[in-house]
Symmetry: C2
Subunit: 301 residues, 2 copies
């Protein structure tokens, strides 16, 4: 079992109306792996520069995350800077410095090539396929993407989509990828592009899951204290894949549960900057929110 994630490990500088951090631990693979580490063994494949602080690697290792695929290259670590407005829904990217990430060609270490649950975070769809080609016995593969790839590498993205089991994307990306404003129609159209499951993340509005003719609408966790939405989508994916890998059960019933676990991890993520909100949870913290989501969405027939 276990899960492997390929994506970015970055230094994020984020400003929100509630505070700011400078060069904090960030990146899609980071948020994913910290969230997933509460459920199963996690291995991260990414690249950092020789300026990457040891303490960040130690934090990941301290959470039991396998960093044998975290390569250090000469040069600077990927840096991202962004600001969020008062309602936290729109973010402005202030700067993106790819640095060593620009030439990232993911190599899966031999000992990780048989990990069965594979998450391709938001990277170039060509690289996502390069990763898939190296995996020896995937039980379930999932990928994320972003508007940049939808617009600039559509054909490559469609090829990746035809090879993964689960597509995870946000509502704007789903509408854009499908060229369809109705989200239900758009999601079903993405389903026809290859994946057997499509998960649409809607931030404060929860998530939708499409699988065959079935549809699941998951509530968001009612967070009153949202400090920084950065990484929420990756934390969601981490909880989702982590639960699937832990249970080894990819039936729809369990996929629905996994989406709730993803929702729980995203809710912890947004309550603090960087990975702080997810760094020291107990299993009880997670189960409590899982049960709260059941209460929040329950009605009697």
């Amino acid at each position: 079992m276990g899960v492997i994630v390929v994506g970015s490990v970055a230094l994020d500088s984020v400003r929100t109306p509630f505070g700011e951090v400078t060069e904090a631990l960030g990146g899609s693979a980071t948020f994913f792996s910290v969230a997933a580490s509460y459920f199963t063994d996690v291995a991260v494949v990414a690249v950092v520069g020789d300026d990457f602080p040891d303490e960040h690697v130690e934090l990941l290792r301290g959470m039991g995350i396998d960093t044998s695929g975290l390569y250090t290259e000469a040069g600077k670590t990927f840096r991202w800077a962004g600001t969020y407005g008062f309602d936290l829904n729109d973010r402005d990217t202030v700067s993106t410095e790819l640095n060593v990430f620009e030439k990232f060609r993911p190599r899966i270490p031999e000992n990780l090539a048989r990990v069965e649950y594979v998450f391709l975070a938001n990277i170039d769809p060509e690289l996502q396929r390069l990763v898939l080609d190296q995996m020896k016995s995937p039980a379930l593969t999932a990928c994320d993407t972003m508007n940049f790839w939808i617009e600039r590498k559509r054909e490559e993205l469609l090829r990746t989509l035809s090879k993964v089991d689960v597509m995870v994307l946000n509502d704007a990306e789903c509408r854009e990828l499908a060229g369809e404003p109705n989200l239900i129609k758009a999601s079903r159209r993405v389903l026809r592009m290859g994946p057997s499951t499509v998960i649409v993340k809607k931030g404060e509005h929860g998530a939708l899951m499409f699988k065959g003719d079935s549809l699941f609408s998951a509530p968001a966790f009612p967070c009153e204290s949202v400090y920084d939405p950065t990484g929420a989508g990756d934390a969601f994916a981490g909880g989702f894949m982590g639960h699937l890998a832990k249970t080894g059960d990819t039936t729809e019933v369990n996929i629905r549960r996994a989406i709730i676990y993803g929702t729980v991890m995203a809710s912890f993520c947004v309550e603090q900057f960087s990975v702080s909100g997810m760094a020291s949870l107990t299993g009880d913290d997670i189960e409590t929110r899982f049960r709260q989501l059941k209460e929040v969405s329950h009605f009697e027939t």
Copy 2:
């Protein structure tokens, strides 16, 4: 039992990317009463001009709606014209002609003053209170509002809010009324303004209900064919109040059910122009969608 609604009966001219209608039957009280008529006795209190087509009155009466409080005044009926863009989320009001509605002072006919379930659709909060003062034995009162009243008649609106049991409003209105971008915090703040229950309508993202410390997150019905969102909020309120009046049960368990019935009625409303999508339903149509919403939101612990 039974429900009474006070609001507008209007002639709507609506253009969406999927078609258009001119001077079709519209208005908050219309959408509400047609939706509610599937559940219980409904009486509508509103004003129309002497140009109001008989066929519209006949449609309402044909659905069993009591129109003894539908007054006809010399002059023209309230007219609203609007257009929706491709994603149907933003609407532009092209024109609003209040006409006879401008001097509307709602009078509750004697025989309707003892109706127990009272819905104050989106009208001047002063008039909403004028209605409340005329009701003899309300079991449950609910009101809607809009940005116009929040901005121009805030004090009056707060006075109305302190006198109703249920506040129904959309997410943007909730944030504006509370002066708080976090929707959970904003809703709890509205709860402290007086009503024991606050319902936040989020369109394609469903609805939230706050009551005491409890929170209910209702999914939207997954509509693939949305032709015209006009009236969806009032249809939602109609299904909600209709179910409560039918059952005479205002416990939280039943309020949650009522929200699902509201969601079902809104889903039928948006599938056609005017009230056409709600004009000829069967009880089975409604129950089928209720059950589908149960399936859509279900997950196992």
